[in-house]
Amino acid sequence: MDDMKNNNLKKASEHGIQAPLALLAELSHRCPLQCPYCSNPVQLEKKTGELTTDEWKSVIDQAVEMGMHQIHLSGGEPTVRHDLEDIVEHCSKQGLYTNLITSGVLLNPDRLKKLESLGLEHVQLSFQDTDHENADRIGGFKGGHAKKLEVAKWVRDVELPLTCNCVVHRQNIDNLENFIQMALDLDAERVEIAQVQYYGWALKNRAAFIPTPEQLDHATEIVEKARIDLKGKLVIDYVIPDYYAKHPKNCMGGWGRRFLNMNPKGDVLPCHAAETISHLKFDNVREKSLKWIWENSEAFNMYRGTDWMPDPCKSCDRKEIDWGGCRCQAMALTGDAKNTDPACSICPMHNEIFSMAAEEARRAPPEFIYRKYGVRFNSPI
């Protein structure tokens, strides 16, 4: 790629960008569930490549020194790591707001109690549906939903605050009100209703997940009503599939502006899907400091600010609101990460992609391609 030869890219400080606010730490890609919309890359990292406990501790120290506020311990499934306790304790000692994002199925009451006593501050527990059978089918894990309901109780027993992470799509969207009721019944502080975002695994399975515009409108009405009815009782975060939006999401608050993501082997990424942009080269914490990477990494500087933008982004008055939308989506759907995100209604490809997705939503859903190691695909989408 021509732009990879460009070593004169402006750095973070030259864009006036400060230290990132939060670190999403993917401790492992290993996971007992196989959700076909998993946000992990299609090429999953094996256990042998994962960073060690001491390497994570060093990353945590560096994150705090840079001024980061929060850490999200995620995966895969972060509880597969036997050193999770050490990592949580270290985060807490260093003053990071420490959040565990988990499927829950490997947890037990003693371990939760231990994690809480070491300083864990919040748990986000994923749910695939409110219907047991369908939830277990989507996650590819028998008995998973029943276990999660138990885990939620254990979380509240040790007085840890709980967020229910509910990924919704055409195969469970009719249970949206039940998801909200479940969050209330489980005494959650917060529920995330996130429509599937179509990268990686989810893009492979798009036809199985994409809702019709009518389903989406109905879901949005339910969420808006619940937000009013439950104000002060339950925080509801809602993410729509941006295919059906007028403007693209300002993905990650802009490329390399607010957040960074680390994969299990220590590559530092602007977002969890960035590896789908195959020409980007990522720096690794085994070779460079986190601070150096945030400031200098070519993968970050490539799409920072607005200089890289082509039209219609370049001349758009929303360019510093949307930041061109999502680079990974532009890559996946147009073949060039620099193009305007097709989710934007003024993107030349918007109608074509929108109608393709809407057409998929009207057909019977195909079988899932479950997320697991070693799946091979013939075609890139």
């Binding site: 230290a19 606010l21 939060a22 705090v64 020194e65 840079m66 001024g67 506020h69 929060q70 003053g95 707001y97 959040n99 501050e121 919040h122 986000q124 007085e159 840890l160 605050p161 967020t163 005494d187 502080e189 917060r190 104000k231 002060g232 009782k233 339950l234 925080v235 975060d237």
Partner: protein, 97 residues
Amino acid sequence: MTDILKIDDETIPKFPKHVKFRYNKARDEWVILAPERLVKLDPIAVEILKMVNGEREVKSISLELSKKFNAPEDTIISDVKEMLQNLSDKGFIEENG
């Protein structure tokens, strides 16, 4: 979570367990942290929140602030209530009791 809170003079505000009011040394700033939330605060909000400890009433916090900044108590108390109500509606403040 409890029912919707209406902040008045006698309310004893506190931070819910998942909400942290914390000083970030590297940035030299006070912030409110909650899951996937970060609230930046103006200096007045910081002064108010430093007195939120789950023991003091809104009235007592306001009285001390009015003395400290030599400002009329009724103005301060309405500012304090407004700010805390705003944070409470977003789930960042609750009542002790």
